[in-house]
Symmetry: C2
Subunit: 499 residues, 2 copies
């Protein structure tokens, strides 16, 4: 048995364990009855712990180091060279964390994760202050172990979008803010569409059927796909590109929400399905550049899905699946899905104001990790920024600073990924139109799969062997810029709102 064979066998075992956890999580979120949840959570703990033990063992690490030595490394193909490089880097990071501190870190973030929903429910920021402060300290400390040479916030951003820095984000988010705040002001002065036509009841089974139809239309391989219902939509792959699943929620009077969740998660899933099979079971298949991942989901959701030409070829079919839509015209439907409103909750925001919600969170994280803002000052800071960006002030912390889960479990640095994804999308529009011609025309001709094929070939197949920066360089040949996204928004909303 070669070192590589031995490594592959160990890695396969790790995958059996992590795939089991993935399946249990899927089951917990989709179908497990209330009574079974505790037991499933216990099982998840057991298999996660087994995975942690095996993946951090000296035996495994020594094998990885052996394969990273020049003589062995040169024998590997590109797939395993990438895999060993990433595995070694990540192991070195995690092995620098002292075991007793890691335990403390898990305890701190778990406690904070338990208190957050209670604080949100009771609109009680006070009870969340201490756990949040402790979590921030724990996050700072863990980064001092894993990335001793980096600034804390850069290290956090890097976790979710490798190679990205605070400096770059400052630049592009700044450009966006300067352009979008005045654009929003103009829009809010213009006449708004009538929402009342869209409160019709659509039964869950019709919504589910429509969602299935839409993702298939986008180019999903349905033999490697499943969809189910859960409280919050998400995408997950069962450890291979051949089994990728999404969830959705079907509220009777909010069918449009389900449609756009399906298109969004469908975009993530098409990315996952189309990674080159040669990366199966290696780090190349594990797409952990969240900005890049969000760029794909948001490209389908916003750039394609909110374009009238997406719907033109399929509108009769949509009305056949959901007869309730026969009472509205295609034009009314498209107007509704492009309705801009300044509202408090990020997850319910439209395409345009969503950007401002993310910028707000980024500026808050910057204040926390760079300017050393105190947790007691954060709610006032949040409200001030809401006023500045969206011209509204939350009446409660529940619809303000307490709304998101991310900080409660220590996921600082994640928020920027959402908006980075949209900024990449602006740049991808240019690249696609250069190669394939007008997106409007392709969509109107019912040929969306041509765009999917382009994304497959230029982005998806590489999995995580190219960082977002490398993808932009290869695909667009340009540095990151918010200008294309700004142009897209300006053109779009000038038309939609007759500005």
């Amino acid at each position: 048995m070669t070192f590589l064979d031995e490594y592959k066998a160990k890695k396969r075992e790790l995958h059996y364990l992590s795939d089991a956890v993935g399946l249990m999580y899927w089951d917990l979120q989709t179908i497990a009855p209330e009574g079974g949840k505790e037991k499933l959570s216990d099982s998840i703990s057991y298999f996660s712990t087994e995975h942690f033990k095996k993946s951090t063992s000296d035996e495994y690490y020594n094998l990885v180091c052996k394969l990273a030595e020049k003589e062995e490394f040169e024998k590997l193909d590109d797939v395993y060279q990438h895999d060993i490089r990433i595995t070694k880097r990540d192991l070195e990071k995690s092995r620098r964390i002292p075991a007793d501190f890691y335990e403390e870190y898990v305890k701190t973030t778990t406690e904070s994760g338990i208190i957050w929903p209670k604080a949100k429910e009771n609109n009680d920021y006070k009870m969340y202050e201490e756990p949040l402060a402790k979590t921030i300290d724990a996050v700072k400390k863990i980064k001092s172990y894993t990335d001793p040479d980096k600034k804390v916030y850069d290290a956090l951003i890097d976790d979710f979008e490798e190679g990205m820095t605070q400096e770059t984000i400052d630049r592009v988010f700044g450009e966006l803010k300067d352009a979008l705040v005045p654009l929003l002001e103009k829009i809010l002065k213009a006449p708004q569409p009538d929402h009342s036509k869209f409160t019709m009841k659509v039964p869950a089974h019709e919504q589910a059927e429509l969602c299935k139809f839409l993702v298939e239309y986008m180019g999903m391989d349905m033999t490697r796909f499943a969809q189910a219902e859960s409280a919050h939509p998400f995408t997950t792959s069962m450890g291979s590109i051949d089994d990728v699943r999404i969830t959705n929620h079907y509220y009777e009077t909010e069918s449009i929400s389900a449609i756009f969740s399906a298109i969004h998660e469908g975009g993530h899933a098409i990315f996952e399905q189309n990674v080159d099979k040669k990366y199966d079971g290696t780090c190349g298949a594990n797409i952990n550049y969240m900005g890049l991942h969000e760029s794909q989901s948001r490209f389908y959701e916003n750039i394609l899905g909110r374009n009238i030409n997406f719907w033109k070829p399929i509108w009769p079919k949509v009305c056949e699946i959901v007869p309730e839509y026969k009472n509205v015209t295609l034009e009314e439907f498209v107007r509704e899905i492009n309705h801009v409103q300044n509202s408090f909750i990020r997850t319910e925001a439209d395409e345009l104001t969503y950007c401002l919600h993310v910028i707000l969170r980024y500026e808050m994280e910057r204040a926390i990790f760079i300017d050393g803002a105190k947790v007691s000052e954060l709610p006032a800071m949040w409200n001030k920024k809401m006023d500045e960006l969206l011209h509204i002030i939350p009446k409660t912390d529940s619809e303000g600073i307490l709304q998101d889960m991310h900080w409660s479990d220590g996921s600082f640095g994640y928020f920027p990924s959402y908006l980075l994804g949209s900024i990449y999308d602006g740049m991808f529009i240019e690249a696609i139109e250069k190669d394939l011609g007008s997106i409007d025309d392709i969509l109107a001709a019912g040929e969306i799969k041509k765009i999917t094929k382009w994304l497959n070939e230029n982005i998806h197949q590489y999995g995580s062997t190219r960082t977002s920066g490398e993808v932009l360089e290869k695909v667009c040949g340009k540095e990151l810029s918010a200008k294309p996204l700004i142009e897209y928004f300006t053109k779009k909303y000038t038309e939609v709102y007759n500005l």
Copy 2:
């Protein structure tokens, strides 16, 4: 740490592994896409092997033996005394099988399991003869290891219904056969109902909603229950009484099939949900008396579900959920669900002829294991028995001897359980009516949950700590007899068919 603590920890680990396998199997059968099935099967193999290794280790066995020693055993409560007794007995059986023979056994039955569906599809018994012969030999050999002091067929029956013998089955099946064949002859001469009204299309989502309503009506705790769709209906528990699940199939024009699958699997699930929680994680919770298990599913399906009084209180609600049923009367519906026909396929048979299908298979197994019948003689024997019992002769082996999966994977001795379940049911009717009064009246009053409560208290709570024989003795105070079932059938069909 005491020996018991150590044992509990090891047993818990075994449960994590077997529960993972259970969940993967559930997922494979219900939602996994085609593309993910191979990977899921690999995972199932991995975790099954891990479970096998740990459960057959000397370390585990020695611990069990230690706890079985008088001094330690006496310290255990009744739950763990039962658990240790059963665990030790089963381990001793399986440890007597030589490892290399076990591998051969698995290979033989796997091969036979692969060829069977092909033989069935191609109506080619010839290609199945050799694998079947090898499987029979392998089964005989494995029983000579596990149960050297028993006759092979008794040992096989004992696997599925502990304590039952061929002698007892001969007696009760004989009684039944003598009574049911002439009853069927009379029925077949009587006028038959019009089936054409029951080919209406009922959408899957309506069927699923009705099934959920029915099991809840029967007394299912819905917070510990889930239902999903699969090719063949089955019940499974996710390793605890707090998460019991059933599957169903929803064919548009066969809604009655889905209804009775739901009531049948619902009966199994109510049994699983109501085992005393103190047996959690021990052998007491693992109900492996298949006759007793079938007695519960078949009690709900046939004795209760095919009784007009079951439907009387809920018929308006049924028609509300499935508006298509408004075109038939309650009387027509009940007539349809009690339609007796002599047909070829066991799984599609009605309540009465089902018994004869099982008797046929039992007599075949008897011929194989006791009389030493040759596999080449079996198809002719099957057809002769069909003629004798049901007065029809299959035109092909596919609708004859090749129809069932059971023999292909070595599950000889399972078939009698189905009919034993119905025989127990006949006896339970007497016991219930003695305690609670007329079943008809209870059902008509919409008080089916009273019957469920009686079953919970008298049967379910004991899990597998009482064999079927012990249950009959405690509940009915009588020896096994087919007479109550015969009386039930005679009374029922004399009325239904005006004999």
